[in-house]
Structures are given as C-alpha cells and as structure tokens.
Symmetry: C2
Subunit: 425 residues, 2 copies
C-alpha cells in the first residue's frame, strides 16, 4: 500500500474494530441497532433539516423531478429508515451459524462456521436510506464498514453518521465500527479502493462509470453488478394477459432500476396474437419500442428498428427492445449472449420449457411467471440489501447478511497427527 | 481485453464448452472420469516414458532429491492418479444441489441452486498428479478448465492432456472442456491472466513470486494463499506428550508444505516443564530453533535469537521460531498479527480456552488438539483439492467441488408483479 494514503488511519481503525466485532454477541449488536432506530426517530427534525440543506444544493443542479423525489426525506420516510433497521435486528445472527459439520474416520470433527468478512468498503450514490441499510447489515453480520456516500446526500449522511457514532458508543460497540468519509474530496474513492491492507471487500453501488473506475484502481475483491439488461421471454404456450402484466410491471413500474426489463423475446408462433396486446399496453405507458423486422410487419406503428447495440443496452428509461425468436433455444442463446446475467423471466405454461429456461440461463435470478422486479433483498426476505451481484464468485443476486460473511473450519481432535508411525522415536 | 491475446481462441472455446458443461448430467461426467481413470492405467508405460523425459531434463538442473522424488512417477503412483479420479467420480454432483429454499408471503417460491463457476484458469507448478486432480474436480463440478502446468512436468502433462482429450471425445463431453497450455512460452501465464472476457476465476498454486506476479496483471478474481505461517499454541493446562507429537508432526513430517508449523507459542506457566521435552524431540529431528530471550534461559542450547522477521517467516524447512507468551490472549493477538490466516492449533485441556482460541483466531482452519497437517482437501474428505484459500471471499481453506461452484436463484410464481394495483388500466 502507498504509505501516504490519507485514509490509512481510518483503515487501521476499521480493521481494529472488525477484530472486536467478530466476537460481539447478537444481543449487543441488536442493542446498537435498536438504539440507532430510536435515535433516528427521535431526531427526525434534525435529519429533515440536514436533508433540506442537501435539497437546496440539488435544486441548483440539473436534476429531474424523479431524482429530487428520491433524495427527499419526509417524516414517513425517516420512520421507514428506523423500521428497516429494526427489521434487520429481528433477523437471525449469521455469525457462528454452523453451515456444515462432519467427522472423519480418524475421529477428527470438522465444523464449517460462518464468520464476518472483516472490513467492508461501501461506495454508493444518493439516498441516505442506503446509509442506514448498509450500517444495519454490516454491523449485524459483525463487519466494520467504511461508508462513502454521494455528495447529493452529504449533509444528511453526515448527520446520520453522528447518530450512528453516538449509538455505537452508547451500546458499547467499537466507535470505529462505522466510519463515514465526508471530506467531499473526489479522490476519496480512489484512496478507499487502495486500502488493501485493511479492507476485505469493496461494494460499489451506482453508475457503471463509477464502478468501472473503482475496478481499474483496486486490488481488493469487488462485489458488484455493472449492467441490468433483463429479459422476458414469452413462450408459445402461455397466459397472454399474465405476460402483458409481467412485462408492463417489469418495464414501467420503475424503469430506472437495474431489475427493470430491457428486452422482450417472443416465440414466433404466438407473436401475431400477443404483440397487439403488448403494443396496446406499452402504448398506454408511452414506452418507445425498438423492434426487429418481423415485429414491424405485425405492428406497423412500431417504426423504430432495433440496432445491434440495442440488444445489449440498459435503457433505464421507458424504452424497450422487442424481437421474435423461432424457439426457446434461440431465446436462451440470445439471453446468454447479450444479457448481463442479472434477472430474466420465462412466461410459459409448458413445464419442460420452464425447466429448460431456468437451468440453461446463466443469470443470478431466473423467474418463471413472475416479474423480474422482485430481484431485491427486501423482496427475497433478507430485510434489506447492500447490493446485487452478477459475477460468479462469493455472492450472486441480492446481497445481505449471509453474503457479508465468510467461514472458517473448526477442527477438534484428541491428538491426531498426519503420520503417527513416525512419532515413536 | 487486448484483442491480440494469443490465447483468445482457447478462451472462447473454453467459454463455449462451459455453457454446455453446466447442463451435463452426473452420469455423463462420471463416464468421462471413469474412462480417463481406465485410460491412465492402460497407458501407464507411456506416462512413465513421458515422465522419464521430464526427469532427464530435471537432472540437468540444480534441484534437490526431494524435488526430484516428487516429480518421479512410478507404476504405483500412476495407479494412485487413476484412483484419485475414481474417488472424485464417486462423490455427489454439486451442480443442481438446492442450498436453500423458501416461500414469500406473495406466493413466490425461491430456490438457491448450485451452478458451475464457468471457466477456471489453473496455474500450477510441478507434479503431474495435480493435472489429474484439477481435471477431475473441474469436470465433476461442471466447469471448463485451462491448465497451465510447470515446465518440469511438461512432457508428462502433454501426454496426460492427450489422454484427457481422447476421454472427453469418447464420452461425448465438449472436447475443449479441458485445455492444456503447453507451448512452454513464459508469457502464457500473463496471457491467461488477461483472458477476463472468458475466464471466471484464476487459481494459482505455487511459489509466492508466481502468485504475486499473477495478481499484479489480472482483473479476474483469484482464489489463492500466499503464505502458510502456521502456529501451535501450547496452553498451560495440556497433555505435554500430545503437544510434542502435534508439533513434531506439524513441523517435521513434511516441512516444505503450506500447512506445516512455523511458530510455537508456549504459555509461561508450562514453559519450564514443556520446553525440555520439546527441545529433546526437535533435536532428534535436527530442527533449528530460533527463540526469544525467555526460552533461551530455559534451554541454553537454543542459542539463535529470533528476529522480528522470524515471526512472519514461512521457513519451508527444518527451522521453527519459539516464543513464550504470558496468556492465551497474547497468543491469539500474536497469531492474528503475524499469521497468514492459514492453519493454527491450540493444545489445551481447558475447554473455555479452546473455545476462545477457535472463535478469536481469524484463520481458515483452527484446530484443537490435532495437527495442522490435516488442512488438505483429501484429509477433509473432499476427494482431492485444487488449492487452499486464506482470503475471506468465496472460499476459504481446502477448495474442491463445492468451492468450484456458484449459485443462482430460481423463482417460480403464478403472475406476481411488484405493483399489481397499477396494472388495471
């Protein structure tokens, strides 16, 4: 590590805190979480005042209403933050869970036991709610965390960090278990990414540019997803109304999120029946459709032809690409080729087709007859999420408590040696 | 990726093979493994001839007898290679295993299912047995593998790769499921490490220099250990003979391996009783002892004083460092500070001390009253191992079939959408 890294002492403090945290009881961790939840509700006014300062700044920037709305806290939203923390407190402690145990013929007893990862570097944009979710998940799983939030929530995050710090001290947890980087220096992200002596994993959440930049400059393992190019495949034998609803929900309920749909693949045998229904619904939602030549023949109103790059584009907007495929295998091949391994759905009444799709699609979450919008820690029952992963190592899909743990092997014996015959000398 | 990477076509072939392999049945994978095991036994003479060519070359190099012995194949060792492959075939298929499943209040059914990682890049030194172990583990877990063996086993590996290729074809598996890099070009390691478009994980096994060099030049996740600085802590209340045996086995049975002991910590209250017994045994084994000032007072023959760097040195030789500690906490702190998070043992009759040690030591494998030499896939009952990990992400300790898998979530519904109320338009 570069010894002149300005965050070195923060890293060292986090590592020290992590060593203590790995042995803190569930009760003590929950005491902290419940104290923090109460404190957040108690200081709702101050949180809203800090948020007002952030909003003053945001209004001077060129941001749309949806963005400003996401950043805006209200009394109710503050209550939800506190409730989220209490929900994480109510979940079982992952640390110490026995994942597997067995004995060996020589009498050794082997246990595989969950342990915390250590120090998490969490880099995220915008919402202050995420500050609370990440704090709750990291502490509950016995990890120290270094938070680096976006500048748009700077004042709110700063105030929340004060409350978190006070609750850590009040409940006897290490005071450096949660540290917020708030100098506002743009270099902070790079410095954090170079703390490989202290940080066990980096979790970045935000735009692709941010995540790519982090990956360029770090040797620390990164848990992340870059794209969410999610697909729906409409099989020949399916409930057409159900298909329209799942696609509508997936594309239009919140088009800016990573589990929203970007591409619809339709079996050729059902296309003439299905596309008019789909066109009608998407038209009502003002969705721009970019389609292949065959679709265009069926729905002449769809006049924008999809280009090659459309098949791998995450629009994050009311735009969708649509293609007719000759069979389920063509759909699977398309998704495995163009997709981002995030979330895909087959809409079908054919069980063997569903099985084939669920097995052969190489994505974190594969759905049968349900919206891809459920790819989310809360919807999975994890209480919250710290991110979603689309790589293969460690964690895939929504990441929460279990995904913030590692394991160790505990082996108990009564004197076993590898080669007892050597020892009688 | 650099488009001029000479291994690009090999990477693309491996990725294509991996897509097929993820859906190959356990029966078909086992047919390959059993075919290969038979083929190895059938061609034992040819394998020994290839090995003889390697040995001719090795004898011209400056290598010690132990090294040459490890590289030398015999009829019996070839039989063991085949048996190892059959043992992996006999293990349950990890692919498709349901790790967890649950339902949500909205009726969604969620299953977490094991899937292969994809393409493994395996870089290793020396022994041809490792070629067979890696092939068996990778194929059984549904992964394609690109093998890069050491130059000392070049001819043997080449011949084995021919047998593997023939067995893949004979059993109907993708012919590029296992590919050996055998040009002998030193740049191969770098090229392989830069195939991030195709390779999901790099597993390097060998010297620290090799592994560090790979980590410098790759963006692919690496599963590895660098050091094996393993510790034994002798508690005040313990069976002294058992302690001597565990230390002797750990230090001298095979000093060159990563799970061998490097440092002994002794509780001050037992030191005067224990050290003479230990000195006697280590003396018989010709072990050089580097000790702290207190040890020296008790055993004047121990005249080499340990330096600061001794406490973090992996000797890989008949050398050990020894230190007296004032209590168990000092031992734990020493190990967490100087250790490499590989394998450590407490020798104690005190259950609460054992529990404290097993909990607070932050290492992949922690032992109570048993030799650290058991940190090994075979000894854990995994059939073989592809390596040992000391990092926190994905896999820790001995890595075999389960550690070569990822997972995906399979979610089944009957039309669930995130926001049903929006859909009645």
């Amino acid at each position: 590590m570069n010894t002149s890294n300005p965050l070195e002492s923060i890293g060292a403090q986090a590592k020290q805190a992590a060593l203590t945290l790995q042995n803190v009881s569930n009760e003590d961790k929950n005491n902290f979480l419940l104290h923090l939840a109460d404190s957040i509700e108690l200081h709702s006014n101050e949180i809203l005042q800090a948020n007002a300062l952030d909003l003053d700044l945001i209004r001077t920037l060129d941001k749309n209403d949806a963005f400003i709305d996401r950043l805006t806290l209200t009394d109710d939203r503050v209550k939800l933050m506190a409730q989220g923390i209490r929900q994480v407190a109510s979940l079982p402690d992952p640390v110490g869970q026995v994942m597997d145990e067995w004995s060996r013929p020589n009498g050794l007893k082997i246990k595989q036991v969950r342990v915390p990862l250590g120090v998490i570097g969490f880099i995220y944009e915008s919402r202050a709610t995420v500050t609370c979710d990440a704090t709750a998940l990291c502490i509950k799983s016995g990890n120290a965390v270094i938070l680096r939030g976006g500048k748009e929530a700077k004042e709110t995050n700063r105030y929340l960090a004060q409350l978190i710090h006070a609750s850590l001290i009040a409940s006897g947890l290490p005071e450096y278990a949660v540290q917020l980087l708030s100098s506002g220096n743009r270099e902070e992200v790079t410095w954090l990414a170079q703390l490989d002596q202290f940080v066990n994993v980096i979790i970045p959440r935000g735009g692709k540019g941010l995540i790519k930049a982090i990956m360029e400059c770090t040797k620390i393992p990164v848990l992340k997803h870059l794209d969410g190019v999610c697909h729906a495949y409409v099989d020949a034998d399916c409930d057409l109304q159900l298909a329209v609803n799942i696609i509508d929900d997936g594309k239009t309920q919140r088009p800016g999120v990573c589990n929203a749909l970007e591409t619809i693949l339709v079996h050729q045998d059902i296309a003439e029946q299905f596309l008019p229904l789909l066109a009608q619904r998407l038209n009502k939602r003002n969705v721009e459709c970019r389609v292949d030549a065959q679709c265009k023949k069926i729905i002449p109103d769809w006049h924008i032809e999809a280009q090659e790059e459309d098949w791998s584009t995450e629009y994050e907007d009311l735009i969708v690409s649509i293609k007719i495929v000759k069979n389920i295998q063509a759909a699977i091949d398309h998704i495995n080729h163009y997709g981002s391994h995030h979330s895909e759905v087959i809409i079908s009444n054919n069980e063997s087709h569903a099985t084939q799709f669920l097995q052969q699609i190489d994505s974190a979450c594969v759905y049968h007859n349900a919206s891809t919008r459920f790819s989310d820690g809360n919807e999975f029952g994890f209480g919250a999420e710290i991110g979603i992963g689309t790589d293969k190592l460690h964690a895939r899909g929504p990441m929460a408590l279990r995904e913030l743990t590692s394991y160790k092997y505990i082996i108990s014996g009564d004197g076993q040696t590898k080669d007892p015959s050597r020892l009688s000398i």
